[in-house]
């Protein structure tokens, strides 16, 4: 009895001791918050990372490095040589991808380690940079929080305001593998400031094809049935002539509070048919032009027409580029499985030939506190 007790004790002790000293407390780590992937002019892979400095003596509270490396994992050894602590990827908040990377097919495989290594966070925001990544990652504005926090907040806020698509590593992975959908990613640009400008549309294999502005993205999100909070749209009513003047007199702003978008899927005459039924409840919150210019009943028609043209423009763009950022392929698979299976591999093409009809029904709920 006693001998056994002692032997267990010894074993435990040995186990404890052998695992000693293998861990690093968090203040001694270099915790990457941004990871940047870009190509330089000679088509070399450029990896950059940015991490906070905890030391009070350091003047800057963030350290940023950029270097050439073969892969993301390969870059770590160089970073370890540069940074104060052991570099860890567990808290990466933002993954910046240069637009130049997206212009080449098969770039997705460079992100392999992000999914393979369990220590990576899967909620990392993926953002496309129009221009060199280094401009964004080295940018240190005086009036903004640290860049990783700032970028994350910007994307989160716009997501909640229905202005950008959901884009983290998990979603990107899903969209890359899903055959019935093509990926979309938010895009930022560095001019005087870093700002969010819309989303990029990618092909099935990830190649860049086109971009959407912020407002177009909102419409795309309605088509995807992914709107979050109330969505504000400012649209010019183009039917009546602009009376000129500095203050665009034909502008109307509406708040879309409730959107229901329903798709029915059919297969007829060798074509897929998607019928959208979108019903919205809107509030008019800004109307620059005088009231007598248009009647209440007409106003509804005008808005419908205006919005419809926007939706159609987006769909045209999608079909032209043979992509499917909405995910209509998922509907096709769910409801027309046999037909879908035949064209699964070239779904973008199949979609470009299909019919997408949209019927819009607007319900004006209120016109605000003044007449």
């Amino acid at each position: 009895m006693k001998r056994r007790c002692i032997s267990i004790f010894v074993i435990v002790l040995v186990a404890l001791l052998s695992s000693c000293g293998r861990n690093i407390p968090l203040e001694d780590l270099t915790i990457s918050l941004i990871l940047g992937v870009d190509l330089d002019d000679e088509m070399n892979l450029i990896i950059s990372e940015s991490s906070p400095v905890f030391n009070e003596d350091a003047k800057k509270n963030i350290e940023t490095y950029q270097l050439k490396a073969a892969t993301i994992r390969d870059s770590r050894k160089y970073f370890d040589a540069l940074a104060t602590g052991e570099v860890t990827a567990a808290k990466i908040q933002v993954l910046l991808i240069g637009k130049r990377v997206l212009e080449h097919e098969g770039w997705f495989s460079i992100l392999d380690t992000v999914y393979r290594n369990p220590s990576f966070s899967i909620n990392t925001k993926v953002i496309v940079v129009d221009g060199p990544v280094s401009e964004v990652i080295f940018y240190e504005p005086d009036d903004k929080p640290q860049m990783p926090l700032y970028l994350k907040e910007v994307i989160d806020k716009n997501y909640i305001r229905t202005r950008t698509v959901e884009s983290n590593l998990q979603v990107l992975h899903r969209q890359m593998y899903e055959k019935g959908m093509t990926p979309t990613l938010p895009k930022i640009i560095k001019e005087n400031d870093v700002k969010f400008v819309g989303v990029v549309l990618l092909e099935e294999n990830g190649k860049y094809v086109d971009a959407l502005s912020i407002q177009e993205t909102s419409f795309l999100l309605i088509l995807m049935d992914k709107q979050k909070q109330e969505l504000t749209l400012s649209i010019p009513i183009t039917t009546f002539t602009d009376e000129g003047g500095i203050f665009n007199k034909n502008m109307l702003s509406i708040d879309i509070s409730k959107v229901k978008s329903k798709v029915t899927t059919n297969y007829k005459q060798g074509k897929f048919h998607f019928n959208y039924k979108i019903s919205m409840t809107v509030n008019i919150i800004e109307r620059i032009f005088p009231k007598d210019k248009v009647k209440e009943a007409e106003l509804k028609k005008l808005i419908e027409k205006e919005l419809l043209s926007r939706f159609e423009a987006i769909i045209e763009k999608i079909q032209e580029n043979k992509i499917d950022p909405i995910g209509l392929g998922i509907y096709a698979r769910a409801f027309q499985y046999e037909q879908y299976k035949k064209v699964e591999k070239q779904w973008g093409e199949a979609l470009s030939e299909s019919n997408i009809d949209i019927s819009l029904d607007i319900d004006i709920n209120g016109t605000g506190a003044i007449k």
Partner: protein, 511 residues
């Protein structure tokens, strides 16, 4: 073996009982008896030997007592005075004319010696081989006061004292029932101690009583100092961090437990009584839970269990997160922890140990010191340890918060013993966490659970409504249901009469 039970072992051959007490019978010769007494009680200046002639029978007699522990006034009024000055007007001439209630006769020296040491006075009469024992004790004792450790807001403000008979009286005051039985057992070879087991004969389980008696009888010691010592002798698993018997100084609480079907052991000379068998949840209840409204009581009770979890796991979790799993902290908190820990020269576990041990020392220092110095300790602890240590960069702000939370959480446990148990368990958890992170904590928790499940109190399962799951007992566990809803006694006590007698609450609005 670790965590093995004490009573599963075979009893070791008991030591030869060495009798310190004088053997033999008293003699009919008065002088011989006096010499005998003097030889037994040599070097005892407070021994009074008073020779007298009893007026009633005109025979020579000697009165012997210890002046320090016998009540001189009642000896004079009720023994000496009647013997010296009153005629026997009674027809019954056998009995001596003494105005006392409790009179015994003894023939052996052993009885006499014990009686003298218990404060009795002994009357030897010429030519009689029997001595009279008059029970006139007057031990120094304390008045009944408010409880000191287990204070209560709305409960009775009466605590047990150091006198066993008074303590029994306090319990009897609560339960006027003839089924309240008292079993007396004497323990201790040198300092003999009277134990009384109180229970309701028609409710409490006789098997448990037998077990309790058996264990008490097996205690083989010189003297039992107080209830805590006895509890350590009779508890099931001495290697457990958890207390398996409940000590209380509240008569109302003890009475309530008797009514539940438990046993209360009153230990003479000790201001607390032992309640057994208990379950884990007993240590999280107070008498105030039952006198306040049930929602309030339930909320506070949930807080206590929450405090229990916090006190055991919070420092360990801190260590695990800082050392291994910093990923789980959200970014903003991570940045602030990082900058507050940056200048700390110690790894997290050393930091945590320094602070936790300091806290324990401060607490202990505060208890034993007089109240006025105790305040100083508080100030020193609060300012020097808290503020200055952070400023000097010895510990981080977060650590101070963790330690403070742990302390508060462990003080919320109403039972002092259980509170201390938690504080002890915390340290192995911290060690495990510093080696294996969350896995260490989980393994520690598993070990704790394994121990908790198999632990017993007087042969009944310790984790009763939880570990052998008994849903019907949950009415008085985390949520205290209204009193009228708790109709049955807890299954954990193995009571033979389950239904409470007073469960006659009118359902609905029939009245």
């Amino acid at each position: 073996m670790l965590f093995s039970r004490r009573y599963s072992k075979k009893p070791s051959p008991s030591q030869q009982f060495n009798d310190f007490v004088h053997q033999g019978q008293i003699s009919s010769d008065l002088m011989e008896n006096i010499t005998e007494i003097q030889s037994v009680f040599c070097d005892t200046p407070d021994l009074i030997i008073r020779s007298l002639v009893i007026k009633q029978t005109q025979s020579q007699a000697v009165l012997v007592y210890l002046s320090s522990i016998a009540d001189s006034k009642s000896i004079f009024n009720h023994v000496l005075h009647p013997l010296l000055f009153e005629d026997g007007q009674d027809i019954n001439t056998e009995a001596l004319n003494v105005s006392l209630g409790h009179i015994k006769k003894a023939t052996s020296w052993q009885q006499i010696e014990r009686a003298i040491l218990n404060g009795a006075c002994i009357l030897f009469v010429e030519k009689q081989t029997e001595a009279y024992i008059y029970d006139t004790p007057d031990f120094p004792k304390r008045a009944i006061e408010d409880t000191t450790i287990e204070s209560s807001l709305t409960g009775a403000h009466i605590g047990f004292t150091e006198t066993g008979s008074e303590n029994i009286a306090l319990i009897r005051k609560q339960i006027h029932n003839r089924e309240l039985k008292i079993k007396e057992i004497t323990v201790g070879k040198r300092g003999q101690l009277q134990l009384s087991i109180l229970y309701l004969a028609d409710v409490a389980n006789p098997d448990v009583l037998r077990e309790l008696e058996y264990r008490i009888q097996k205690v083989n010691v010189d003297s039992v100092l107080n209830a805590g010592v006895l509890a350590e002798y009779i508890e099931d698993n001495p290697y457990s961090p958890f207390p398996q018997l409940l000590l209380t100084e509240r008569p109302d609480y003890a009475a309530a437990e008797i009514l539940q079907g438990r046993f209360v052991t009153v230990v003479d000379r000790s201001p607390s009584v032992i309640i057994g068998p208990v379950t884990f949840d007993s240590f999280f209840k107070t008498i105030d839970d039952y006198s306040s409204r049930w929602m309030v009581a339930s909320f506070i009770r949930l807080m206590r269990y929450f405090g229990f979890i916090i006190a055991i796991f919070l420092p360990a979790t801190y260590i695990a997160i800082i050392t291994f799993h910093f990923e789980v902290i959200p970014l903003k908190l991570l940045l602030s922890i990082g900058s507050s820990r940056e200048q700390i020269p110690f790894p997290p576990y050393i930091e945590a140990f320094i602070m936790e041990l300091t806290l324990e020392m401060l607490r202990e220092a505060g208890i034993r010191l007089p109240a006025k110095i105790g305040q100083t300790v508080g100030i020193v602890g609060g300012i020097v340890i808290g503020q200055a240590a952070v400023e000097a960069g010895i510990v981080s702000n977060i650590m101070v918060i963790v330690v403070a939370l742990t302390a508060v959480a462990s003080f919320i446990i109403p039972n002092y013993e259980m509170g201390s148990a938690i504080r002890i368990v915390r340290f192995p958890m911290m060690i495990l966490a510093s080696f294996f992170g969350f896995i260490g904590i989980i393994v520690g928790f598993m070990i704790l659970l394994a121990h908790f499940i198999e632990l017993e109190s007087l042969g009944t399962p310790y984790g009763s409504p939880i570990a052998p799951l008994k849903i019907s007992d949950w009415k008085d566990l985390f949520i205290r249901f209204p009193q009228w809803a708790i109709e049955r006694r807890p299954l954990g006590t193995k009571a033979i009469q389950m239904k409470k007698a007073n469960a006659n609450h009118q359902k609905g609005d029939q009245q």
